[in-house]
């Protein structure tokens, strides 16, 4: 069971303005995420969702506590080690798409695999598979500017999954999408979660996303106030911990 713990955040805190008026963006948080979970991190704006994701993703370091990914304490890694660690272990989906504008959809996905040194034939096969899964096989050569917001976010998800990471962190992935695009994206994420057993942790205050999550963690003022199985079971994915 311990071997299945992907994310283990232990008493982590992040404080801003330490010298003047300290603000706890994340305050003594414990969090365990198991392999294959599809978890929503919810809370009002400023509750610390993005900061917590940054700490878990190794983009920022906690002032206190430890973050263990697959048992490795990443808080002790250097900036360069963290870059390498993120490349090999974590997929990111950002709120505002963040595709590289000069690369085509295919190249955006392929880029991460190339950084990992994946050989061309395997890259091509994986790209084909992912674009089939996100239902954008006809948009391989489109530049981000030629894609809709929803399509860009689907490419971002494909990119996050390209190297089969340990888990995917998605920061408000549907915030800039219309209902239909958001629903499509969630369908794809849920399908990939199920098919590839990839762990998803996403911050959101979008009820559509919360409805699809199997576990919902609520964060208020940097503290976890609740951690429950999702109330909605309409998609049959309910079944979180605690």
């Amino acid at each position: 069971m311990i071997m299945n713990t992907v994310i283990d955040a232990h008493n982590i805190s992040k404080v801003y303005n330490k010298e003047t008026i300290p603000v706890y963006a994340v305050n003594n948080v414990h969090l365990h995420i198991e392999r294959g979970e599809f978890t929503a991190l919810v809370g009002p704006s400023g509750s610390g969702k993005t900061t917590l994701l940054n700490l878990i993703g190794g983009l920022d370091k906690p002032d206190d506590g430890q973050v263990r990914i697959n048992g490795l304490d990443i808080t002790g890694l250097s900036a360069d080690q963290l870059i390498d660690f993120r490349l090999k272990n974590i997929g990111f989906v950002f709120q505002s798409f963040n595709l590289i504008p000069v690369l085509t959809a295919k190249e955006n996905v392929e880029f991460i695999m190339q950084l990992q040194g994946v050989e061309r034939s395997k890259r091509d096969a994986r790209v084909k598979q992912l674009f089939d899964q996100i239902e954008m096989a006809d948009k391989l050569d489109s530049r981000p500017a030629q894609l809709s917001g929803g399509q860009q976010q689907r490419v971002a998800v494909a990119r996050a999954l390209a190297t089969k990471p340990q888990f995917v962190l998605a920061d408000e992935p549907t915030a800039n999408l219309d209902s239909q695009s958001a629903a499509n994206l969630l369908d794809i994420m849920a399908k990939l979660n199920k098919e590839e057993q990839i762990t998803f942790l996403f911050s959101t205050h979008d009820q559509r996303v919360i409805d699809r999550a199997r576990r919902v963690i609520t964060l208020v003022d940097g503290k976890i106030t609740s951690d429950t199985a999702a109330v909605s079971t309409k998609h049959g994915h309910a079944g979180g911990k605690k």
């Binding site: 900036a79 360069d80 870059i83 490349l87 950002f94 190249e107 392929e110 950084l115």
Partner: protein
């Protein structure tokens, strides 16, 4: 992929990239232009020194040039002249008798170097005939004619057919004088020499100096510039008792200028490159700052610092490579045009150029031998200029960059 990204990135803001490309092209063009101009000027100066002033080599009595005393004559001048004229590398050998003295008129006097020449040889040796701006060449049947420089003519208020008196000491150290009539006024590219040198026939000068046979100097023009050292060595062996000097020894200031030209040109280039560097730093920094979020996202996804650095570096290299051929072609085209038609710098001041011994018509020469150095300087500048923006990019913290 980094290559593709770098190439496409430079076309994201076409206007900005074109500004950098043109800056690099202009920098390269300026570098080539400066070198071409200097090379042209130096070549012209060297040609003037060789063809119109001192020749390739000169031969004197070993004591003559210490004080220009007229007694130090090449007494076996005729035999020397015959020997050197028969050397295959020698194009022309011209004898000269030389002394220093005073030129006097009713209005004043001036110190001059009096050159006694064999007119027909001197017209070719120092292009004296071509330099005449007023009057006519020496009359073969008349005596006591003199050619003076325009600068001296103005100073002494002399015109063609004016009379003047030359006073100097003869070989026995007696003061002698001779009255001369100006037959021609000449003008060369070297104003200070025009003010100093006057020409009379060797027959007239030798008669006044009391030289029955011989002269003071043999000036040699060679067929090829490259033969100077070789012929100088041969002459030293043939005439060990005489002083054999090359134009580099006779005109050390010209030799110094030639040797330091490249350094001056490179100093000017470095100044131009500084301006170019600031332009590139500014533009590349803007490019980095505009893409802070994108670079932060790339680093968040796992792009390491080396690759981020390489991206900015490659963008600068591509811009440099795009600008380089433009700069070289325009530099080559411009120098080729002016090499053919000449670049008239008389607008900058004819007297000023002349006072430094330069003609006002310059024929810039494309510095093919320096092209690699120029390209290396420009490329080095561009690469050096990208360091600051590239370091700025690699120092970005993804978490902060993504917030922007």
């Amino acid at each position: 992929m980094i290559f593709i990204m770098a190439w496409r990135n430079i076309w994201r803001n076409k206007m900005r990239s074109m500004v950098i490309i043109l800056s690099i092209a202009v920098g390269l063009f300026a570098g080539i232009a400066v070198l071409a101009l200097y090379k042209g000027m130096m070549k012209s100066r060297v040609r003037t020194v060789i063809d119109a002033e001192v020749g390739h080599l000169q031969l004197h009595d070993i004591n003559f040039k210490k004080d220009y005393e007229p007694k130090f004559v090449l007494t076996d001048g005729a035999s020397i002249l015959k020997t050197v004229s028969s050397m295959p590398a020698v194009k022309l050998a011209a004898p000269r008798s030389i002394t220093t003295g005073m030129l006097s008129t009713t209005t004043g006097s001036a110190g001059v170097q009096i050159n006694g020449v064999v007119p027909q040889l001197e017209y070719e040796a120092s292009q004296l005939k071509k330099k005449i701006v007023a009057g006519k060449v020496f009359d073969p049947v008349k005596n006591n004619e003199i050619m003076i420089g325009q600068k001296l003519a103005k100073k002494m208020k002399l015109k063609v057919r004016s009379k003047l008196v030359l006073t100097f000491t003869d070989t026995a150290s007696n003061m002698v004088s001779g009255a001369f009539r100006v037959t021609a006024i000449y003008k060369s590219d070297n104003t200070p020499l025009d003010e100093k040198n006057v020409y009379i026939t060797m027959t007239d000068l030798n008669a006044l100096l009391g030289i029955s046979s011989g002269f003071h100097e043999v000036m040699l023009l060679l067929k090829n510039d490259e033969d100077v050292n070789k012929v100088q060595q041969e002459l030293k062996q043939l005439f060990p008792a005489y002083q054999v000097e090359s134009w580099r020894e006779i005109s050390p200031e010209t030799d110094f200028m030639v040797k330091t030209t490249d350094q001056y040109a490179y100093i000017i280039m470095v100044i131009i490159m500084f301006a170019l560097a600031f332009g590139i730093v500014n533009t590349m920094l803007m490019a980095v700052l505009e893409r802070t979020r994108e670079i932060g996202m790339m680093m968040a996804l796992g792009t390491n610092r080396v690759r981020v650095f390489a991206l900015i570096f490659l963008e600068t290299v591509f811009l440099t490579l795009a600008g380089t051929p433009i700069g070289i072609l325009t530099g080559w085209g411009t120098s080729a045009y002016f090499n053919k038609h000449g670049l008239d710098l008389s607008g900058m001041g004819r007297d000023m150029m002349g006072s430094f011994g330069f003609g006002t018509m310059i024929y810039p020469e494309f510095p093919a031998d320096k092209l690699l150095v120029v390209m290396l300087i420009v490329t080095g500048t561009a690469i050096f200029s990208c360091l600051f923006p590239a370091i700025k990019a690699v120092k970005l913290r993804p978490v902060e960059a993504l917030r922007r």
